[in-house]
């Protein structure tokens, strides 16, 4: 048995890592690409356009969002990662640190448009100064508001709030319409939702939630506490829908599509999905307590699987996805946010001024960077969600102080 064991261990330690075949980057290779269900449509749109104009062929496989990280980890453990895989951009530092993606620093630096590739995304895919991933899709947090309810409440639908306090006022006014209308809505049982929608207000006020090296938390800062307090009041006063407390993410969009919520922070990509249900929707940047604006630059990053033997061909695809052609004709055409700041205004976005506003936020926003981001902030068992629940529904001051310590500890855990 010992021999068998040793064999397995040896296999784990040394298998795969095939050498690169020399040859052209577009030589008709078949490349596998993994993505999560939420990003599947975009990944497939890229793949279809690329396959139509190249000899290489991209094959997309999508996995359920929740189980996707487990799938990636087991494939990595068995040294059989796909040629390309995308992941939630906030997980990128962890995957880069674990060596799950191949180093693409040299290729990336030779791109003519490298300086205009969404900087916070590029930073997320960096580990120890080397680039491992590039942006795949961008999803920004914005304020989404119901124009019809604005009119009903006597508010000007063309004047969205400029400060977070104004946001709360608007929400209160709309809530007074009564019936089943609520002023606002948030994902109070979802760490990912809260960081995505509340942190921009902290940033807009000049505050920070995380130190730049991703090893210390600052959730006990004055800026963060003020933002939590504002949302907490909205919930206590019944302005935020009571369902906000239990919202873990899955029914968040549904709540906004119902047309009974006045104004709420959420992903910019939902604009279409909400309007498709006949809810006239306005979009505005997320402000700080007393002004300013920022956004959480979310979405997915993509890199080349470290065990792939086709890195040249895979890079050919990645470089193409960031090109003017792909960003305008694939991403902008389906009303997505281009991953390049120099393409914020393009022939498709100019048709809808709201999109230009959104696209322009990419340069102003941030993507938080921490190796242990998922385990600390997004995982429901992480310390951030406990902190959020305390700050919104429990003893706020104590939770933020204890939470800061727990989060810092989790960020530093090896």
């Amino acid at each position: 048995m010992k021999a068998k064991l040793a064999a397995v261990a040896l296999l784990l330690a040394t298998a795969a890592c095939g050498a690169d075949e020399p040859g052209a980057a577009d030589d008709g290779a078949t490349l596998t690409l993994w993505t999560r269900a939420a990003t599947e449509a975009v990944s497939k749109a890229y793949a279809d356009a690329y396959n139509a104009s190249h000899r290489n062929k991209i094959e997309v496989t999508a996995y359920p969002n929740e189980e996707y990280p487990a799938k990636l980890a087991s494939a990595a453990g068995a040294k059989s990662l796909p040629d390309l895989f995308a992941s939630d951009v906030v997980f990128a530092p962890q995957y880069a640190a674990q060596g799950l993606w191949a180093d693409v620093s040299d290729q990336f630096k030779s791109l003519p448009f490298k300086d205009s590739v969404a900087p916070s995304h590029v930073r997320a895919g960096t580990w120890e100064g080397r680039n491992f991933a590039v942006p795949h899709t961008i999803d920004l947090s914005v304020l989404l508001y119901n124009k019809d309810l604005y009119v009903k409440a006597g508010l000007d639908p063309e004047k969205p709030p400029r400060t977070l306090r104004e946001f709360a006022e608007h929400a209160r006014k709309i809530d007074q319409l009564g019936g089943d209308v609520n002023g606002t809505y948030f994902g109070g049982n979802c760490g990912g939702c809260v960081e995505f929608t509340l942190w921009p207000s902290v940033w807009a006020a000049g505050g920070e939630v995380l130190e730049a090296d991703g090893r210390s938390a600052r959730v006990d800062s004055r800026e963060m506490a003020e933002v939590f307090a504002l949302y907490r009041d909205l919930y206590d006063q019944g302005v935020a829908s009571p369902a906000s407390k239990g919202e873990a993410g899955p029914t968040w969009l549904g709540a906004l599509q119902g047309g009974k919520v006045g104004i709420a922070p959420g992903p910019s990509v939902w604009l279409d999905a909400i309007e498709a249900k006949g809810v006239k929707t306005g979009i505005a940047p997320i402000p700080g307590i007393n002004g300013g604006e920022s956004t959480f630059v979310g979405g997915d990053a993509i890199g080349i699987g470290a065990t792939s033997g086709k890195t040249q061909q895979a890079w050919d695809f990645l470089a193409w996805t960031m090109s003017d052609e792909a960003q305008v004709e694939v991403i902008a055409k389906r009303k997505g946010v281009p991953v390049r700041t120099d393409l914020a205004a393009n022939k498709h976005s100019s048709a809808d001024p709201r999109l230009v506003t959104v696209n322009g936020l990419v340069a102003k926003g941030k993507t938080p960077y921490a190796r242990n981001f998922n385990a600390t902030f997004n995982d429901p068992q992480g310390p951030w969600l406990t902190t959020v629940r305390g700050a919104l529904f429990g003893d706020a001051t104590a939770s933020l102080m204890a939470g800061n310590e727990a989060i810092t500890k989790s960020l530093r855990q090896e």
Binding site: A76, G99, D379, Q381
Partner: protein, 273 residues
């Protein structure tokens, strides 16, 4: 007789090969991993006994262990009472008994993942006829799901135990003037002990390893109130990407389960021998 031993061993060979290859080898690998810091890619580094000492002061793990134990006690009690009640109800041949047995057992035919999804809809506020709201509906939903799906299965096993008790034992007791409760206490329970032990072992093992129902229905929330032990293992392996730690916790859990089960098996053996 030697030849019989050889043929017996031959018949057992396919099972032995499968169990060896797909259970023993991976299991040894897990033990081996638990002695290392084991990155997904790259070289493992020997660090024993770090992964085991870490188990002791793992805050989430201790709350998960406490929850899992309470859940196990709760489920085992409820499930046992319900299943035994159902078994008593359908033990005699009467018209319609087949329908009742089938009705109680049928939920078992829905796979566990599908059943969890079914309950996700059933208990949802959006389309569910019985939306579970309130402050801690999470545990309730998981308990309902498990009771619904597994009561019939356990009923069936208990039923076989009930039916194996010879009718004349009851007759003799009745002639002696025993009440129904006395017969249950003195005849049914003692004679069913092996079956009861089997059912309890399966319930306890299943509950201590509970994962799917929480993963799909509650994600461990709210506030980690339904985070089970296996969810912590999952988090160590697939969120923290620390395979060594996940393996360490698994080994500890496995040893505990083996102890619990062998105690129960010992009871079972003694009584049935």
């Amino acid at each position: 007789m030697r030849r019989r031993a050889v043929s017996g061993a031959l018949y057992a060979t396919p099972a032995a090969v499968l169990v060896g290859l797909f259970f023993v080898v991976p299991l040894l690998l897990v033990v081996w991993m638990s002695l290392h810091r084991w990155p997904l890619l790259g070289k493992p580094r020997f660090n024993a006994p770090d992964n085991y000492t870490a188990v002791a002061d793992h805050a989430l793990l201790s709350s998960a262990a406490w929850f899992t134990v309470r859940y196990t006690v709760l489920i085992t009690l409820l499930l046992f009472v319900v299943a035994f009640g159902l078994a008593l109800l359908v033990q005699n041949r009467r018209p319609g008994v087949g329908f009742f047995r089938t009705a109680f057992f049928l939920p078992m035919a829905v796979g566990f993942a599908s059943a969890s999804l079914l309950f996700l809809g059933l208990l949802s506020e959006e389309i569910g006829p019985v939306p579970l709201t309130g402050d801690s509906p999470a545990l309730g939903s998981a308990v309902l799901l498990v009771l619904w799906r597994f009561a019939g299965f356990n009923m069936l096993i208990l039923l076989t135990g009930l039916q194996a008790i010879p009718v004349d034992v009851y007759e003799a007791a009745r002639i002696d003037g025993a009440t129904r409760w006395q017969m249950f206490r003195r005849i049914t329970v003692p004679l069913m002990r092996p079956t009861i032990a089997l059912v309890l072992t399966m319930m306890i093992t299943g509950s201590l390893l509970a994962f799917d129902q929480f993963w799909i229905l509650t994600r461990g929330g709210p506030d980690n109130s339904t985070t089970s032990l296996v969810m912590v293992i999952y988090r160590e392996a697939f969120v923290r990407l620390d395979l060594g730690s996940a393996a360490g916790i698994s080994v500890v859990l496995l040893v505990l389960l083996a102890v619990v089960s062998s105690v129960q098996l010992a009871v079972l053996r003694r009584r049935s021998a």
